[in-house]
């Protein structure tokens, strides 16, 4: 399953870091961040519950970029 979320982040490098961080979260098969359109596209692993996974993704992203925001609700 793939879902796209609106995100907020200031710098291109931070967006790259978010992408890396999101990919490492369990339940995420793949994640891409498009800094220009401010979108994060997440492909969930089989059977993963998007809400819970996204909470974890946000926590991981905040670790690398405290100012970032992901609108997943």
């Amino acid at each position: 399953m793939k879902k796209t979320y609106r995100i907020e982040v200031d710098c291109a490098n931070c967006a790259n870091l978010m992408e890396e961080a999101a990919r490492k979260v369990s339940g995420v098969a793949d994640a891409t961040v498009n800094f220009m359109t401010l979108k994060m596209k997440v492909e969930f692993a089989e059977g993963a519950e998007p809400g819970a996974v996204m909470a974890e993704v946000l926590r991981a992203c905040r670790k690398v970029e405290p100012d970032c925001e992901i609108y997943y609700e």
Partner: protein, 633 residues
């Protein structure tokens, strides 16, 4: 439309202004010693608390080397130096942070603006659809709430919100936002209409054939937005580069701070001058921030893809844009790509009868058939067919038709039909499909039917040659004579004819082996039946995609209209964009390395260092936005 700052940007601006005002005031304050340091720490705190915090967080999370860390070390170091040499010149330390913040603010503003510009350019998303109420009034609803088969009303000046068929009305529509073609097109009852076009003159009633998510507009937007997920080699290079670059700069700064003084003190026996070398090391840190590169390269690609989509060329990822710029071989499918894919009468070779008469009899005899050949005969005849003149129509499968027209026995068909009826015919030297006509047992001539070559095809091949394409190749299932004549007329270098779809893949593979390693091969098709070839080529280009889902799926580059000249344009746009990408890489790295070198030997000041960081970023962003301009490429 003006771009205004968002809340966060305004807050940042306020911090910058406050700190700057305090700095100016302090410049005139007659304070010295510890009090002076304490006073300078106030604006420093205001401007840099978040950066210091992030740097600390980074260290705790083992993500040490980022720009926050660089800036924190640089400014704290500058403070310590000022304390050490007793100069009391704390302004530089605060200035590093202050200008770093100014740079950050500009970056965020410029990016916000170009983001806005680009999304404005791609402003094809319709906001609403009009649905007629029972009382005849119109209700505005969100396009994604309209179900298939609904009737919507599109008023003049409005965007067509969903794909559909025109039920009522006639108008001119402008599809410039989709295809880059600014000439309006007439549309009337019964014709398909594509979302994203603008209705210009008349009121149209449209029955929708697709839901919003599957309409052309949504697919295009999705495609452009998703383009960012397929990263090019240059982007991957920059991301990798940024990862190793910052640590390298940090270690070299450390080396610069420590090694020369040690060499001075122990090897040369001179004074160590620690403070000079530490100052130079701090310059290093300020200069080294990788932002300019990290932001400008993806921004250039985004602008290039955005600009191309305005010209009706959808590029599915920056990797394809990169490949497109290196294309030296262009392989064309014939039917539907260089030709209209519609059969038409090209020549009438008659003997005794007038040309129009021959066509008229052939068209009448074939009037009951829906075969493409009969349709092309009727189209060439161009007048309504009076079926009362036709009697006793007899279709002989694989041969043709015999019918009685105005009492004359007309036979229309191929060589076999003529043989069968015992009519002596003249074989034709022309390519294409030959239709013989016999009347009352005597030969009357033949008609040559051909798939018509698009009027832009020859110009398209010329444009490719001009763009430095090494070889153009035509692949077709047609017979050899037709294929070779087409190639000759268009100036195509190489032809392979009588190919089945699988043979086309094989031909492309042979070409892929033959070409040089750094050259890329593009295949151009109409997206129908050539999906395997589209995927096998380095870059697959499908054309005529307005409304065709298959083409959008299969190809890497999608041309919205079916003008083959767009192929050369796509290549030129890709090259321009890649040019900008390389310019930015060279510009950013060049200036940075020059400033680093100047800093190391002590020529650069803190102000030059700040330019190397912030100024380069500004230049690179402005250059990247240039990739949006594709109209005159």
């Amino acid at each position: 439309m003006r771009y205004t700052m968002n809340k966060k940007q305004k807050k940042e601006l306020a911090r910058i202004l406050t700190a700057a005002a305090m700095m100016i005031a302090m410049h005139f304050a007659p304070v010295s010693g510890l009090w002076r340091l304490a006073l300078y720490l106030v604006p420093y705190g205001i401007i840099s608390y978040d950066i210091l915090y992030k740097a600390m967080r980074g260290i705790r999370n083992r993500q040490v080397f980022d720009e926050n860390f660089l800036m924190s070390i640089a400014s704290i170091g500058a403070f310590l130096l000022a304390v050490y040499d007793g100069s009391g010149d704390y302004a530089e330390a605060v200035a590093v942070m202050l200008f770093y913040k100014v740079g950050e603010l500009f970056e965020s503003y410029a990016v916000g603006r170009s983001r806005r510009n680009i999304s404005e350019l791609m402003d094809i998303r319709p906001d609403y659809a009009n649905i007629q109420q029972e009382d005849g009034s119109l209700a505005r609803v969100a396009p994604d709430e309209v179900s298939i088969g609904s009737v919507i009303v599109v008023q003049p000046g409005e965007k067509v919100p969903l794909d559909g068929v025109v039920l009522e009305g006639r108008s001119a529509i402008n599809s410039v936002a989709l295809t880059g073609e600014s000439r309006p097109r007439n549309i009337e009852k019964g014709q398909d209409i594509v979302s994203g076009c603008i209705n210009m003159t008349g009121l149209l009633k449209v029955r929708t054939t697709k839901v919003f998510e599957e309409s052309t507009v949504s697919r295009i937007l999705e495609l452009v937005e998703e383009a960012g997920s397929r990263k090019s080699k240059s982007e991957a290079f920059i991301a990798k580069f940024a990862r190793i670059y910052t640590p390298i700069v940090c270690y070299s700064a450390f080396g610069l701070a420590v090694l020369p003084p040690l060499v001075n003190a122990f090897a040369l026996g001179t004074e160590a001058v620690w403070h000079v070398w530490i100052y130079r090391a701090l310059l290093f840190l300020v200069i080294s921030c990788p932002c300019a590169l990290v932001i400008s390269v993806p921004l250039s690609f985004f602008a290039g893809i955005g600009g191309a989509s305005r010209a009706g060329i959808l590029i599915k990822g920056s990797n394809y844009l990169e490949t497109l710029s290196k294309v030296r071989y262009v392989v064309f499918d014939k039917t539907g790509t260089l030709t209209y894919g519609v059969f038409a009468v090209r020549a009438v070779h008659h003997n005794t009868l007038a040309e129009e008469k021959l066509l008229e009899y052939a068209a009448l005899a074939e009037c009951a058939s829906s075969h493409p050949v009969s349709r092309s005969l009727q189209a060439a005849y161009g007048k309504p067919v009076d079926r009362n003149r036709v009697r006793d129509v007899q279709e002989i499968s694989g041969h043709g038709i015999v019918a009685s027209v105005d009492g004359i026995r007309v036979a229309v068909g191929n060589d076999k039909l003529m043989d069968r009826l015992g009519i002596g015919f003249t074989p034709c030297h022309d390519s294409g499909t030959i239709v013989h006509v016999g009347m009352d047992g005597r030969y009357a001539g033949h008609i040559v039917i051909d798939d018509e070559i698009k009027e832009q095809s020859a110009a398209a091949i010329r444009a490719l040659k001009k763009a430095g394409i090494a070889r153009t190749v035509l692949l077709t299932g047609d017979n050899r004579l037709t294929a070779e004549q087409t190639a000759e007329r268009l100036g195509i270098d190489e032809v392979h004819s009588e190919l089945l779809p699988a043979d086309k893949v094989a031909q492309v593979e042979i070409l892929l082996k033959k070409k040089k390693d750094e050259d890329r091969l593009a295949f151009v098709g109409d997206g129908i039946n050539d999906a395997p070839v589209l995927t096998r080529a380095d870059v697959g280009i499908a054309m005529g995609a307005m409304g065709s889902d298959a083409a959008i799926e299969a190809a890497d580059v999608v041309l919205m209209d079916d003008n083959p000249e767009q192929v050369a344009k796509a290549i030129r746009i890709a090259r321009k964009c890649m040019g900008i990408v390389y310019q930015n890489i060279v510009l950013a790295l060049g200036i940075k390395f020059t400033c680093l070198a100047l800093g190391a030997v002590g020529i650069a000041s803190m102000w030059l260092a700040i330019f190397a960081d912030v100024g380069v970023l500004v230049l690179a962003v402005l250059n990247a936005v240039r990739a949006l301009q594709v109209q005159n490429v």
